[in-house]
């Protein structure tokens, strides 16, 4: 082994680790935060292992109502987009080549138009139509669910069409001709030959359109009107601050995805083995027990049972005792801080009028920003427990990124224990939109 090869190899390993850390790091951290009892999604300080965030999630009526609405809309969108997409793809494959690119452009345009525009134009169009028709149409055309379905269908059906087009390109049109020649009517040829060939694409199209509908925000936020889908409810929840129930939601989504992906993988492997003839040779497949164990349905059932067990186990878990303990610790800490403060006030009577000006100094960690403190406020060091300072403490930073990466630097700036009035704006009161996000390297006063 030559040296460059070895170093190239270690670079590749390093790079892969970095790559996977980048991909899966956030998911891992999110998963961990779902089980921390801290009322903020964070990993450190670790308080108690808890499953309460799952019940918080499930008891959130707004989200759950949104989920039902989303599923309803999703089913509607799939039911319309898949046939419409199929029809578009068939038209594309049948039309004469001169017109094909023109038709393609027309069909694909909705994907290129910003979702916001689609959303607004959907309301305007159906609103006008409803007003001019009057009567029952008016109610329907001002219904958020109806508007969202038609609004989403305008571009989601184009996704379905792309999937069908890709599959149709691999279809051998002589098969249809053969069916006709053998006496089938065009309808029979379509049902018996083309449709079975398209079946996998129908599955993918249904799945993809369901996902696209479910996760859509840009269009839905306009068309849903007063109603809520899961996505819009989630977005508004995040806007008013976050808690680990969102991490719990992420854990559920990850689990569902994993079960789906593993089952699908088992299914494709089995199919390949059978199609490729490897099944006849493999010991695993010739053995009846092996066949049952490797069957995708078995694997799916096993995973579901496993997940069900985890849920049951989790619901039995009681974190109250641990939380009580943490609460006590916190209270003790608080009291100690108060005590220190009282001592300091006695030592510095000349500063007395300033001290009560900050009576409600929020303790570190009650940061209202959505990311605030996700990674723990690592280094505020000396400056945090110095309630006597007139400057706002490092962690009350109101910027959206405030403290997201830890306020590393302020420890270096000596907290001005006795500032000259008027006080200089301290480094942390940085009004810039990135306030504190990239370290507040303060000019030392």
């Amino acid at each position: 082994m030559s040296a460059p090869a070895t170093s190239g190899r270690s670079f590749a390993v390093f790079y892969s680790i970095l790559f996977f850390a980048f991909l899966f790091g956030p998911l891992l951290i999110m998963t961990v935060t779902a089980f921390n009892s801290s009322s903020f999604p964070r990993v450190t300080p670790w308080e108690c292992f808890t499953t309460e965030w799952f019940s918080v999630l499930i008891n959130n009526d707004r989200l759950m109502q949104g989920l039902v609405t989303s599923i309803f809309i999703g089913i509607g969108v799939v039911a319309i987009s898949v046939p419409v997409g199929l029809a578009g793809a068939l038209a594309l494959s049948e039309i004469n080549p001169a017109l094909r690119s023109a038709l393609y452009t027309v069909l694909i345009t909705p994907v290129l138009i910003p979702g916001v525009v689609l959303g607004i134009s959907t309301i305007v169009f159906w609103g006008n139509l409803g007003r001019s028709l009057g009567g029952g149409a008016q109610d329907l055309f001002f219904n958020g669910i109806f508007l969202t379905i038609v609004g989403q269908v305008t571009f989601i059906s184009a996704y379905a069409m792309l999937i069908f087009s890709a599959r149709l390109q691999r279809f051998d049109p002589t098969l249809t001709e053969a069916a006709l020649d053998l006496g089938a009517t065009p309808g029979q040829a379509f049902r018996r030959i083309l449709l079975p060939f398209l079946r996998p694409a129908i599955g993918s199209a249904a799945f993809l359109t369901l996902l696209a509908s479910f996760e859509n925000y840009n269009t839905t936020v306009f068309t849903i009107l007063a109603d809520n889908t899961f996505t819009t409810a989630l977005a508004s929840k995040i806007r008013y601050g976050t808690d680990p129930s969102l991490s719990a939601l992420a854990v559920i989504i990850i689990a569902v995805t994993l079960i789906g992906a593993i089952t699908h993988e088992a299914y494709t492997r089995r199919r390949e083995a059978i199609l490729g003839g490897a099944a006849a040779r493999s010991a695993l497949y010739t053995n009846p027990l092996g066949r049952i164990v490797t069957h995708p349905a078995t694997i799916f059932a096993l995973l579901v049972v496993l997940a069900g067990f985890a849920v049951w186990k989790g619901s039995q878990h009681e974190a109250a005792e641990c939380k009580m303990q943490i609460m006590d610790e916190k209270r003790a800490n608080q009291e100690r801080l108060l005590e220190e403060q009282r001592l300091r006030m006695q030592q510095q009577p000349q500063n007395a009028p300033q001290a009560p000006a900050q009576p409600g100094t929020p303790p570190a960690g009650t940061n209202p920003s959505p990311f605030g403190g996700a990674f723990g406020n690592v280094a505020p060091g000396a400056s945090a427990p110095a309630p006597a300072t007139p400057a706002p403490p490092a962690t009350t930073n109101p910027s959206p990124f405030g403290g997201a990466f830890g306020n590393v630097a302020p420890g270096a700036t000596p907290a001005p224990a006795a500032p000259q009035p008027p006080p200089q704006p301290p480094a942390d009161a940085n009004p810039s939109p990135f306030g504190g996000a990239f370290k507040n390297i303060a000019p030392a006063p």
């Binding site: 002589t174 001709e177 020649d181 053998l182 089938a184 018996r192």
Partner: protein, 356 residues
């Protein structure tokens, strides 16, 4: 006139400016094995698709069993087409493939299966009904495609180069097989190929096509021995072509001046030539014989040995000649050797030179 007759009545098929089939006029008798032979792109598939109903003729009529097939769709014609790529349905089992024509006609499941098994027996593939198409070999697929077409109970079976994807051995085997099946079921077979061996071995009659035009329709022996046009002479089998000028003609015998001296050949189709007319004399390599008393003097360029045959390449009066002889026996001839050649005028053809 039987229901198995096919008549092409002045059929022309055009795609825009391009004429794919030009004025085809022929009558195929019921129960005949009829082949269309021609190079790639000469319009064979187009003609077949026209008979089976996928293309309407631009001009002329297609008659099957004496009935005009205008506006009769492919699913309503008494024909079954075996496609160039077979077009077996990949998602169905072999039995379902074969029973498909019955399924679309509303025949019950049990009856379908019974018929499929009968047809599998006919093509000598019993017991493969439950296999998938991709589990069969090329030759087996071939036969399944035939069985599926036969399930329609057609009057006319149309085959578009069905053997072209097979290897040589299998191809030769399938030729005999196809011919045997045709004789067993007694249908009209219309067979398309660019392989003259296939056309000559299987067919009752062959139509040779060139660039959309049918140049000659005859039985295989006549096509080979008595080609009517320069194209047929050179496309079907090997041939030596010797240009010359007509000196005189008495009956079929044409005497002409060539670079090899004055030769006598047979007028193709009994044509009358004017003296001085530019013509070409065609002689098959196996008709040219080494003969010490022959009139044609030539020099050996090389001799190649090819198993059952050996090919002698010669030069005579600046023209290249080719002689085929039986393979075994004597030593190969050395280059540079001077030889004399002869041929039977009755086995040669004299035709007007191209463009004359």
């Amino acid at each position: 006139m039987s229901t198995r007759d096919v008549t092409l009545d002045h059929v022309s098929i055009r795609f825009g400016q391009h004429t794919a089939v030009n004025n085809a006029l022929l009558n195929i008798a019921g129960g005949e094995f009829f082949s269309f032979l021609g190079p790639s792109g000469c319009g064979k598939t187009t003609l077949l698709r026209c008979i089976s109903g996928f293309i309407e003729p631009t001009e002329g009529r297609v008659l099957i069993g004496g009935k005009d097939m205008k506006r009769v769709g492919p699913n309503k014609r008494p024909t079954a087409l075996i496609f160039q790529n077979l077009a077996l349905f990949p998602l169905m089992s072999v039995a379902d493939n074969i029973a498909f024509p019955l399924e679309v006609r509303g025949v019950g499941r049990k009856e379908r299966r019974k018929r499929a098994d009968e047809l599998l027996d006919l093509i000598a593939l019993p017991g493969v009904g439950d296999k998938k198409v991709y589990e069969l070999s090329g030759g087996q697929r071939q036969r399944v495609a035939i069985a599926r077409a036969l399930a329609v109970e057609p009057d006319i079976l149309l085959l578009d180069e069905p053997l072209s994807a097979l290897d040589l051995k299998l191809r030769q085997h399938m030729r005999t097989e196809l011919r045997a099946i045709q004789q067993r079921v007694g249908l009209t077979f219309i067979y398309i190929t660019h392989d003259q061996g296939e056309a000559l071995t299987m067919s009752d009659r062959v139509a040779v096509m060139n660039a959309g035009v049918i140049e000659q329709i005859d039985d295989p022996l006549t096509i080979y021995e008595k080609p009517r046009t320069p194209f047929v002479a050179s496309f079907v089998g090997e041939t030596n072509s010797i240009p010359g000028k007509v000196v005189s003609q008495s009956g079929f015998d044409v005497s002409l001046d060539t670079a090899l001296g004055r030769l006598v050949g047979r007028s193709a189709g009994g044509r009358q030539f004017a003296s001085g007319q530019d013509v070409v004399l065609f002689v098959r390599p196996e008709q040219l014989m080494l003969d010490p008393g022959g009139k044609i003097a030539a020099t050996v360029v090389k001799e190649e040995f090819e198993g059952s045959q050996r090919h002698l390449f010669l030069e005579a009066g600046n023209a290249a000649l080719r002689v085929s002889r039986v393979g075994g026996g004597a030593e190969l001839m050395a280059p540079g050797l001077a030889v004399k050649l002869n041929f039977d005028p009755g086995r040669s053809s004299v035709m007007p030179a191209a463009g004359a």
